[in-house]
């Protein structure tokens, strides 16, 4: 390292030493990190439930649509009243499943 290099090194180091900002407390960062960690854990725990809800909604909708498609001819030929209760039940279940699926979580994750 020549003379100019050592001068540059000194100036940069001095500039770094003179930098004295007001830093946030380490406790604050530690607790923020832990809150975020807990939120991530909670999301991880809730993920299987979300998947099951989604599956339930898909199954209900598939059953409902399958019944409709399978009994399309009967619907036209006047047997609609026989399958109507079943279709209504399937429809209600589908709506409930979709409603549960898109239900707002109780705790919203904090913005950071």
């Amino acid at each position: 390292m020549n003379n100019h290099d050592s001068q540059l090194d000194f100036l940069i180091k001095k500039m770094a030493e003179d930098h004295r900002p007001e830093l946030p407390s380490p406790d604050l960062i530690w607790w923020r990190a832990h809150i975020l960690k807990k939120q991530t854990q909670q999301e991880r725990i809730e993920r299987p439930m979300m998947i099951m809800r989604m599956l339930a909604a898909i199954v209900c909708l598939a059953v409902f649509l399958g019944l409709l498609a399978g009994n399309w001819k009967q619907l036209y030929s006047g047997i609609w009243p026989l399958i109507m209760p079943l279709a209504i039940v399937a429809g209600i279940f589908s709506l409930v499943a979709v409603g549960l699926l898109f239900r707002e979580p109780r705790t919203k994750p904090a913005k950071h």
Binding site: L8, L11, M15, D18, H19, P21, D27, A33
Partner: protein, 182 residues
Amino acid sequence: MFVATITRCLTMTEARIHERTSQGEFEAFYLRTARPLHGYLCRLSGDPATSDEVLQEAYIRMIAAPTMEEQHRKAYLYKTATNILRDHWRKLKRGKEWMELSHLTEHVHYNLNLPVDMAAIFERLTAQERAVLWLAHVEELSHKEIGGILNVKEKSVRVMVFRAREKAKDLLERAGFKGTHE
């Protein structure tokens, strides 16, 4: 039943002790590294508010990361902070300016005791040149470590450091600095 309760209590106490030790370790590490990291981010971004945000985010990610040795932790911290800052710039559609960022919104001057305004010299360098100089001179990291932080090959870092030094020296000379320090 009684034994199980005692075991559970002991496990919980151990966990709390471990958490306190980790917190203590973190505090010590934070006190050693936060100021230089903040300086690095300030020089890179030119904005103290952004530096504060990025600093906190980098430490939070470090806490969430698996335990590592001090030197690795420091490199991880700088790499994370650099990436967060880069993402921040990308969000502001300024990502393309990463290599040649010269226009800054806010100026950070802290080194009033120097024979020359080094901060002003730094501001005339690109973000990458500033990062390279800071990491090489202040943190005294190896070329390999700098490469790891900036996602650049080790050989390229050598060239980058050389060019950044030459440019900084040239700017110093132009600023009238003759070299009073020995």
